[in-house]
Structure formats: C-alpha cells, structure tokens
Symmetry: D2
C-alpha cells in the first residue's frame, strides 16, 4: 500500500467518516452485560435513540448488519407464502426483494427506472386492485443508496390510508436515518429498518427495527421461523435493561455517543446541514455540465448524489484515479448502473470544508480521467456553502 | 454509580477483559468495505483465524452475537422437521435446543445433571438405535459456560465413527475457542460455532462458523429458510476479500489484532496458561472447603470454574458483595443453578497476578458473606501458580 | 520480548498505571493553543487543579518532567550564592541538592540515614543559629520516593514560625500529590513541586509549581537566570487562558480528566484508600518476616513501601524474577540502597484486588528467589483489605 | 460551544493535525522508564530520529516545549556575557533574542523587515568586522513561523566558512523539521532546535536539540547555569537507553510512530509534498489578488504561507469568520504583523483534498469579510494540485 499523508476521504454513502469521539467511545472497556451498569446504559440508549427514528415506541437493536435488520422486519411480521409489494427503486430495493423471496414470500415487484422513488400512484392502483387484501406488507426503501433517490413516504402512507388497506408498511432507512427528516410514528410506518454506519456515524455492526403497535400485533401471528432476530425475547429483556444474548456492547457505547452528538447539534440542524450539502453537490454537478441521476427534484437525496458520467466514459476509472491520486473513496455504480455513475456520499459527520475538499477531488479526478468539465462547478458549490 | 479506582475485574466467563491493544485496534477509522485495503484485510484475517479453530477450511464471520452463529449452524445445514440429537449439559445447551425447536427441528434431548459433559456412551446407544439414520445432526456444547464442564469431542466423534452414522457434528465452542485445545478438522467436526467476546478477547459482535466439506454439501440441500446467515454468498464474496453486506469492520480490526496476539504467545502456550489458571482456581476452591460443580476431572473447564456455595448460602449475595466491595463481576448461576453457584471466568487476556487478585477477591467476598472458608485456599492457588 | 498475557502490573512508585479514561482523554485531537476552546480548557483546569494542592493560589503547569519543576522552584525564587537548607532524606533529596549546587546555590545538607524524614528539631537548631537570616530557603521532600518515608511538613512549618525565620519553604510532593493528604496553603508552603505521573495518574510530561504570595514576591528580586521556567509570563498569559509557549495540550486533556476522577472519588476518599493500601502492604511485609525501610510509624508513606530484603539477599534479583515470571515492575533500590531494598508502588489508579495481586506476586517472587518468607503475609494484608 | 459536525481544520502553522495513528500510539499504557522495554524503545527512537534532522550524531529529546529546546541550545553552549549574533526575521527570532538577553547573553540583532530571511551578506560583513572573534554563536530561525519566510542556511554556513569564523551555528527548525529539506550535518549546524507539534505531527510536549561535535566541545566549557536542560547527563543515560529523569514516555510512543510514518512516505516525498502544497497555496493567494508576505521566492516557506489582507482590512476578522462559519483555525498576525496578515499552515499530516478544503474556506471567509477576491484563486491552486 502506498503511504498516504493526511486523512482518507471516505465519501462512499456509508460507512461514513466515524468521528473521533465515537471511536474513543467504542474503545472503552467491555462490561458485564448482565450487571447494573449495563442496564443503565441500555435504558438510557433505548430512550435516546427513539427521536432519531421519530418514534416513542420500541426500537430493537441487533448485533447485525443492516441486512440482518431487513430480515428481522420480514421474519417478525410475515408468514410463509405471504404476498408483499415492493418497488424497484434501485439495487438495494432489488436485494431486499430477493431476500423476501428467499425467505418464502411472494413478492410483487413494481418495475422502476432507478431514477425515481416508489410511485404512490402505482401503489394506489395495486391497492385498489387488491380487494381481497392479499398484500400483507409494502416494502419501500426511503433513500435508495444506489441511486440517491428518496421515496415520498407520506404519500405512500396516504395511498394506504385512502385505500383503507391493512398492509403493513416496512421502510428501509439505512442511508437516511439521522441524515434526512424521517418520522416513523407520524408517517404511520410499521417497521423502520436502520443501521449504524451511515447517518449514525458509527462503524458497521448494529441493525435497527423501530416497531409500531400494529407490527407487534402482526408478530404474534407471523409464522416465518425466527429465533435470533425475534423481537419478543429482546423487548422482554430490554424492559429490564438487558438482552437475551450478549449484545455488541462497545458499539452500544458508540451509539450513545452518536445520540449525544445528534442531540447537541439538534436533529433539525443535522437535516438542514445535509440538505445544504446535497444542494451544493448538485450545484457542482450541474456546473461541471454533468447530470444528477435522480430525475425528480422532489426526490433528491440529501445523503448522497449519484452522478452520471455520460457518454462512453467509465465511472469506475474516475473512482480509481480519485482513490489513487487523492486518497478518496467514492461509491461505485451498482447493478445496472455499473460504470455509468459514481456516488458521492455527503452524510454523517461532515462539514463545509470537507465537502469542498471532496468536490475539488471529484473535479480534479474528472479532469484527469479526460472528462471535459467546467471548473466553475466547484465555485457554484462554494456559493451555496457560503450562502448570502 | 460509586466512583471506583483502578480497573474493574471482569471475571464473568465472557465477555472477557479486552486488552488495550484490541481496543486501540477497533478504534481505527472505518474504511470502504468494497475497496482494495479491505480486501487485503479480509484475506489476511480469514487465513489467520483458521488455526484458532484448528481448520484449514472456511470460517464464516458474521456481524452477530454467538446466538446468531448458533442459528447459522442450524439453518445452513438442516431442513424443517429434521431430527437432531442434543445433550442437556447445562443452560446454554438448553437454549440451543430451544432455538432448534423454534426453527422447526425435532430435538431429541439427552437428559443430564448439569455436572457432566455430553455422554459418548449414551450417544453410542442412540446412534445404534437409529438404524434408519433419521438423526441429521448431533449438537454438542464443547465448554458449557453455565457449568464449567467440557464435553469430550474426540469421544463423541469416535462414537459417530464407530456407528458409521452420517449425522453432522455441530459443536458450540463459544467459551472454549482460543482458550481450550480444540481441533475442528482433526476431530471431524462439521460446524464449529464461536464468538468474539471470550477467548478471542474481543468485544461482542462477531459470530463464527467453521465449516467442513460435509457441512457445505449439506447446505446445498438444506431447506430451512435463510438469507442473512446463508454461508454461500458470504463464501463467494470472501473469495475476493469482500462480504455480501457491510461487515463489522472495526471488530474485524480487533480480530486481526487478537489473532496476532494468539500467534505471539503461541496457541499451545495459551492453552497451557488456561489449564494452569484453572488448576490454581480449583486448588483455591478445594482449599476453601467448597466444591467445584464439574463432577468429572476429565471434563474440567479451563475457561471458567463454577463453585457450589453449599448449604443455604446465596451465591448471588456473594457476587453482590464482591461487586460492591471489590469492583469485580462474577458469573451468576443460570437456570436451575440460580443462587447455588457462582462462576469465575479465568479466560482470555489474563495472567497470574490478575488471577491471584481475583481469587483474593472471591475469598474475601465469601468471608464477608458469612461463608466459613479456610483462608489457606488462596495460598494453595499461589502454590500452583508459583510452580515448583 | 516475551509475549505476556493480561495487563502489566506497573508497581513502581511512578509512573503509575494510567487509567483508560485518561489515555482516551489524551488521545483527543490537539487544538489551537491560542483559540477560545483552549482558553476555556486552561481556565477550567487551573481552577480544578488547586484543591489537589490544597491551595487557592496560582499553580504553574510546565511541559517538563518533575525535575524541571524542581528547577523552576529554585530559579524563580533564589539568586546566585543564596544559601538553602536541605535534608538528606534519600536519593531524590540528594539529587535536588545537587541541582541546587549546579545552579550556583550554597546548600547546607542535613545528614540523614534514609529511614527518617526531615527532622524538625534539627531544623529548629539550624534556624536558631542563623540569626543573620542567611538561609534563603528550606528544601524538603514530602514523600521520599526512594525510601517510602514522608516528612512532617506541619512540624517543619512550625519550626520556621517559632524561629520567626523568613526562609522560603520549598516542598517536593512528586510522589505524594493526589495520594497523601497535603495542604499547600494551610501548611504555609511557598513552592510546592509536583508532577503528572504519580498520584495524578497521568503519563509523565507535566511539572507543577504551586506558588504562595511570598514566593511571588521573592520572584521579583530573584536573580538566577531563567526564561523557559519563569513564572511571570506564564501567570500573565494564564490570566487569559493561555500560555506564552505551546503547552502540552494533550497531557492537559488528561489532567482535566484526572481532576474529574479525583473529584468523583473525593480527595478524602482517595487519601483514605492510599492509607489503607499502605497499611495492608506493611501487614504483608511484616507477615513475611521482612522489614519496612521507614523507621518511624509517623512517617510511613501511603504511596509506596520500601522493603528490606535482609541478609545477603539481592533485591534486584527478586525484582528480575518478578518481572520475568509475573510481568510486574517494582522499584529498584536507589543510591546507597541499591540491592538492599525493593519498592512497591501502591499509588494512583489502584484498587484492593490489584493490590492483592501485587502482594501475591511479591510473595511468590520472594519464595522463588529463595528468601524464606511466611506465606501468611498475604493473608495478613487481606485482613486489612477486608476490614471488619 | 456550538456543536460542530465533521473534523476541525487545524490550519495554524502548528500544532498540526495529529494523525489517528499517533493519537492511538500515545494512548498506549505508560511503562517503567527504567525497565528493559523502555531501553529498547529509546535506542530505537534515537536511531530513527536522526535522519529527520539529517544527522548521525546525538539528538537530545526533552519533555518541554520548543521554547525549552531554544533555552537548551543556549545554556549548553554559552557563558554569561557571551556575544551572539541574531537576525530579526520575525516574531520568533525576536522572542529567541529576548530569551538570550534574559539569560545574560549580549545579542547583536541584525534588523530586518519581517519579509526576508537572515541575510548572508550582512552576516559576512559582521563576521569580517569581528576580527577578535567575539561572536560566540550565530542564531538563525530556519523557517520563521510568524512570516512564512525561510533562511538559506547553506549560505549562512558558507559565510561562516569563508570568514573562517569559529562561531557556533544555532538553528531553530521548529516549523521546518520534517516538512522542509534540512541537513544538520551537511550544512554544518552546531545545534538544531526542534519540537514535536509541527512537521513531526505529534502533540506538543517534546523539544529537541541535534548536537554537533563542536557543540559538545563548547558544552564542556560553557558556564551558563543549567541542570534540567544539561545535555551531558542525558547523553550519558541515553547510551544505556535511559533518561536521568522520567521522560514523557507516551509522547515518545508517538514519536516512534511519527518516525515510522515519515519512513513509510519517505523524507524526500514528504518534502516534495510540502513544496507542492505551498506552491498551490501561493497560486491561490495570487489568484485572489492578494500578496504573499514572503518577498523573496528563494525564501518561500513550504510549511506555511502568510497572506497580507491589504488595505484597511482586518485579518483577524477574516480568521474569526472562518473559525465561526467553517470551523477552521488559521494563524494570527504576530507582533508588528497583527491584523495585517493571517497565516495558513499546510504542514504535517496533510493531503491535497484537505488543502483544497482549506483554501476553499479561506476564499469563502475572505468573501464573507467583504474583501474582494477573484474566485479563480482556488481553481489556480487546484491546477497546481492536479498537475499535468
């Protein structure tokens, strides 16, 4: 490995740059997970994590990746052969659908062009057609990490309400949680799936399910086999500050620190910061003469921006040059977007000057890759950052 | 919380005292899990972790607790309704059995007194009776964390071989891995289940499955639903140094450091150290006039010692006094042993003087709890430690 | 180097075992030493450190070893050729005397046997004889780190008061600060010399001078050349939260944490803990049949205990065996005590079980070195620790 | 304090951004400074630090700030009343001169305009006039941290050689060491003064003297009083891997890590990187239409750039805006430059994208302060960084 000076720019859309405070927090000595000090930690944590999801109900925390939390949302609420409705918003929506199928669910997958979010109109149509209420759950990715497109969850909720359809609403907030305004309770979401390594600024290793009363009721009759991911024993033990297994104690230390950091900055400020950084990034992309993948301004992601390199250019070559020359990691194009886009993560513990450095690196990388860009792009971004 | 001076003595049988080196390792910045540096890390790690299991075959690493790795061993190899044979060696064997049942397996549970390991003779009998080879797998806990009793895996293997029975051998090494001599390949184990927070000296958050060729073959036909814990996509991605999901990167940093530490000390020395500390602990227990729970000297655990307080004494009162007065955590009596035993963990990153301090604390705690003990117990332990 | 498992026992009388909290604190990113955040840190720190010295006056903090703080006490208050009176209480008193001579002072050195503290009666005699008030300062080591003997500063003060002698009182509290009751203001000390790596539980690198009004007045006319160690520019800059040079920022982070820890435990509890640990240690030494170096019970040190090995035994051989076999560092015999004593540090971040482990290691080491000791010694110590 | 997201940009010309590796290194447990492990550390360190100074002779390491190392250079080589020749290159040259006077030396101070380095021609004139060889030493600041101007040490050396003048050459490399090419031995320097918190990327707390044979000879007759800073006992103890006092162990851990990092990148690459970053910074300054303080291109500093804000603008207002809005610290104008310049540190652990972020922040800050700048400045810098 070449020796690199200075800090690596980890500008993939997660894992994000873990702040020092959190790294120091997770480096505290592990304690007895059945002792009084641990019980205090858990109780404090479960309370502090609720506002991040916009809920006052239970949040189940798993030692798992986000994928594990995806599976938990399904196995706790559904039974073999249940029909679920999902939207092809991108690579991760597709993976979640595949998981559902592998677990024995029947998935109706609404096709998409990977440039738009879940379509509330299409949903309304399907719901209207489902007079027998065979659809047991709707699966939506709030912020598609592969495309930088958000889905408008309140409109999804409205479609369900209007149709008076009893389907559960399962929402993946993997790359929006703690970055983009999200309201589990207000939006009537039944299971919100999250993870640690994006807006929560932690290393990977924790998965989350925020759970509604309706989801808890569904869990009582759901028959997909489950044990490790079963909510019930966890919620029972949580009531006393414990877990039915040994939890990932040191990551929980980090989670507490993350919650404190979000409280200190204030969630509204956190979201506004992400919005501003995303706007600056899009200004740069347009200034360069390139195209943002997300096609609908109502669905712009504030966590990441996927950029179409256009023409015959190879987006992965750009990424390689930027990694080699400027020690910055960008997200690759996934699935059908391979080679055509790169993704800039601007979420988590981040600030204006780091974004400026990031965009400067992208601009230089594009130039070095032989892609003609207008260098005014960076300046356009700075004008957004500077404000007036 | 009372302010405590000095280091807490975390003498439960795991999580164990995480060494500073490992805490510093996990505090390194998270990197891109799809980049070249991560691929190097994974490849190096997967190679280094093999000798710890005594295998040269694949080791699957999960972001999960040990419970998740238990589940992985079952769902990857078995189908709904399969019959498995398990041994009631203690609390954790009982929990694993319950998990198997919850997942839809039919468990034949060989009763036990929680003071002995799995009985090779009883196994031979069952195998002989199972002429139709309906038993698909044998589940054994190598080191029962609730009792301090080990099972003699080579004898279990011999019984299977003698009966020419095709059942898979699934072994839980949660609290023996990296502490007690264990040989996945030599002993013909099919799935070895491990976790990070015991002999591996890491914080909790990683689960392990070491997998035999036979287990891989079984996985191809096993029909229990699985997705997150499925070996196949993980092994496929591992071949290139990656994971199909975002792995627990910072715990993997710690795992690399743990492997280096085990290499530096040498596994044989690590096991000898644990044996010596266990012998010293038993000398103390006997010197005090108390009884070790494990009834068969061939099955003494080198990771932990469960101590019967005897009479009407409350083992949890002893633990509470020791926590309050001496800032040391001991393991509680689990399940049917509640109140009757406490457990001393002497595994992981540990040394003679820390053990001496531990035993001194136990001795003083027993005295303060009003249990008449001979103070010569500690001296007996020191004689073992000092050698001669 | 041999691989050692578990934590090293650093039982020299300083540097002491630095607690994790402090290590994490010093690992925080360095900040601008001329910015507003630094000013807040300094002001907070200078306030918090006062009670540790028992003063409400200024405390000067140097990026230096304790030796630098010794020099600061002399060069800020004295002029070339000034006469100072010092007491031969041990190795460090002798070194401080040599420093004074090297700096051009004339030292009257009251001989001692290295088993007693500074003699107030001898002092009274010298003061009475010094009718011309030629003695400009008295230099006393509060806790002689080489011998484990304290000097009774209140009686020293009383002798000065009774003689109505204007000499400054300079006291070295290198190994007593934060461990043994000490009162700069109440005892009328003019300069108290301290450092970071003993009772303050920090790594080495900070030196301290607590300064009286009278010392500040003396500084105005003192003519020993000084620049780096000059109090005046430091106190001037401190008033605004700054330093005239770049201070050791990260160690100051650690100092803040150390002050917080002392506040949490409470100084009175901290001192009582050290007293109790010292009493237990002496009980062990006597139980073994060995002799404590300190000859006067009024002068027992609560920070460390120097033990005479007796006969023809080599104390350094004992230390070597203990380091090799038990990974514990003990203090060597210094100067005229070389080979005859070893020193057990029991100060700083320490607790009962670590002391028990320490004494167990000493006992086993003595036995392995062939020194006949009664193994009841450890048990005697435990009785002190256990209390009634 | 306002909550800030992301990492602070510490772009003062030292302390610099301490890399995580070094922070983790200094967080290792403190060890016995008289034990065998410490001796190995010291010996390794003293060898590794030599190339950083360009010497194969001794390097004395102090627990001190750079100011302490300044004093060490003087007190070890000079006697009361000695005449030294110094150059008014800026604020720090002036402070060093004041220190020399305070210590009793007679300083001849060659006036300067704070925009040029030490003038070899002026030196030649003074040396020629000093036929009696009354000048005992020449004091030069290699890189004036207050101005961003370097002095051409080889030309200073040449002037001494040509004049066949025996004066010692004392050089301050506080802000050039490890950043700008420097050769203690090749350039015939007698004492090189350095510190930890600049190019060495450490927190503050260590001072350095690299010492020539001639300086060692001078030390044998020098009569300025000294004790703590005396080279002799340190070099004697260093020969065995020790120190005569308790050294700043944890900072020494960091120093070892810093030496490893410099070795990995290679000193030549380190210097080239600093040159490139400085060139990019000057390109930005000129692009903005502002003036670099350094007046002679041969004397441009590669560690920092001082920028004249021009007109009636207040440089400190610019700095305040940048700190408040962009969480970046810049250096203030010192002494006679107060309010007229700000200083951009681009030394230590730094890279292209961090520099781009830094310059973006300066550009936006200038704009927000109402200073008309051409936004093409940043683009000019990127062209330098991008190269061809």
């Amino acid at each position: 490995m070449t020796a690199h000076s200075g800090r690596h720019f980890l500008q993939i859309p997660g894992p994000t740059n873990v702040p020092d405070r959190i790294l120091r927090a997770i480096a505290q000595p592990t304690i007895d997970h059945r002792g009084p000090e641990f019980a205090e930690l858990t109780k404090d944590l479960l309370r502090r994590v609720q506002p991040v999801f916009g809920t006052d109900g239970p949040v189940v925390i798993y030692p798992s990746s986000g994928t594990g939390a995806w599976e938990a949302a399904l196995v706790n609420t559904l039974s073999p052969g249940d029909r679920v409705l999902a939207f092809e918003t991108g690579h991760f929506a597709t993976l979640w659908r595949e998981m559902a199928e592998r677990l024995g669910l029947e998935v109706e997958f609404v096709a998409g062009d990977w440039r738009h979010g879940a379509d509330p109109v299409a949903l309304a149509e399907r719901l209207a057609a489902d007079t027998a209420h065979r659809i047991a759950a709707i699966m939506v990715v709030h912020n598609e990490t592969s495309t930088g497109v958000t889905s408008r969850i309140p409109e999804i909720r409205a479609a369900l309400d209007e149709a008076e359809h009893p389907a559960l609403l399962l929402v993946d907030t993997i790359s929006s949680l703690g970055s983009i305004d999200y309201r589990h309770r207000e939006w009537g979401v039944d299971v919100t799936v999250g993870c640690s390594q994006k807006g929560l600024m932690l290393p990977p290793g924790l998965g989350f399910n925020a759970v509604s009363e309706k989801a808890l009721a569904a869990a009582r009759t759901a028959r997909l086999p489950r044990s490790y991911l079963d909510w019930t024993p966890i919620l029972d033990a949580n009531a006393h500050g414990f877990y039915p297994y040994t939890p990932a104690t040191n990551l929980l230390y980090g989670l507490r620190e993350a919650c404190l950091m979000l409280e200190e900055e204030g969630l509204a400020s956190v979201f506004a910061r992400h919005d501003r950084h995303a706007a600056a990034t899009r200004a740069a992309v347009r200034g360069w003469g390139l195209e943002v993948l997300c096609a609908d301004p109502r669905e712009y992601s504030s966590s990441l921006t996927a950029v179409l390199v256009g023409g015959a250019h190879d987006a992965d070559k750009v990424r390689r040059i930027i990694l080699d020359r400027f020690d910055m990691s960008l997200g690759t194009g996934l699935g059908r977007l391979a080679g055509r886009v790169f993704r800039i993560g601007h979420l988590g513990d981040f600030n204006d000057l780091s974004l400026a450095g990031t965009l400067a690196g992208v601009q230089m990388g594009l130039e070095l890759a032989g892609i003609a860009v207008d260098p005014g792009g960076l300046q356009d971004a700075l004008e957004v950052l500077r404000g007036e």
